[in-house]
Subunit: 198 residues, 2 copies
Amino acid sequence: MILIVHAHPYPSRSRATHALLRAAMTLPDVTVHSLYERYPDFDIDIAVEQSALSQADLTVWLHPLYWYSMPGLMKHYIDKVLALGWAYGSARANGANGQADETATAGRALHGKHCLWAPSTGGDIEAYSAAGVHGHSFDSLSMPIEMTARFCGMFWQPPFVLHGAHSVSDDELTLKTAEFKQRLQDWSATHVSKAALS
Amino acid sequence: MILIVHAHPYPSRSRATHALLRAAMTLPDVTVHSLYERYPDFDIDIAVEQSALSQADLTVWLHPLYWYSMPGLMKHYIDKVLALGWAYGSARANGANGQADETATAGRALHGKHCLWAPSTGGDIEAYSAAGVHGHSFDSLSMPIEMTARFCGMFWQPPFVLHGAHSVSDDELTLKTAEFKQRLQDWSATHVSKAALS
């Protein structure tokens, strides 16, 4: 099962992310959790979200990039749902999360699962370079997100990034949307065949 | 004026961050905005927060590190308060924030101000290296936070990082706290003398 964790603070202004979401929803075995619809008051149901993650083999983080990261509600979701003793271990001195405590058991709920990050950016890819307005490559700026997944033992997939979300033409968006859908289908095909062989 | 934007989701469990905060509050011209106290429902008063930032010459971001970044509420604060047309310009294709639109005016409210990032981490500094559990240097993981300040035209100060927040001894914490207070005093002294000369 594929779980898409979708976070757009202003869904009515979402064009690119919404197009990717719509395409993904035509596939079987795709579940969508749209955080801003589910939790407009930021009161996240941790048990429900952990259960959904447990059932998923691939989790997709789909959102527009906000300040080189995920939107605030999605960060809050990460803080709450990827809890110590559930998503990561109890090694107190090494915890990624400041709230580590000593009574936790080893958390391996996400170990071995796959994570695909799918952000959209307003800026073109040229903006993400040493000479560009953001001064760094997109890969270097996205490191905290990648490390979040890896720290939970997830297999990090090559991100699916849609740059220039505001300026992309309808035709380009159609192509990109098809590419996204294909990525998910390819993942499912590989995953199913592996499962069949084992 | 120094504005400390303080964010700790669990203030009662805060030892290191709280010690730094207490020390800073003994200084004159320090204002503290504790986000989790002010906005337990995540309903940020944007006008009030922008006004406070406008009055500050130095803004300090003081928080425990959560998943290689700031806690969820503080990320929400950044998304809301550092608004297009206020904190950064209107160049649509280059916006750091996905919500860029075409009608904005150039935002320079924070241009020329100073920003000091003061995170505490559960992990020791050794954890933040190629060989450590987090696989990367602290500097490389903190790039999105630095770029957020820089994108708003703020002068980025060398961060004040308190590693090993859970394991630091009382004596070490006392030293670190004094060091933090001195950093703020030194900044004030430099800033005041510069103003007096101009």
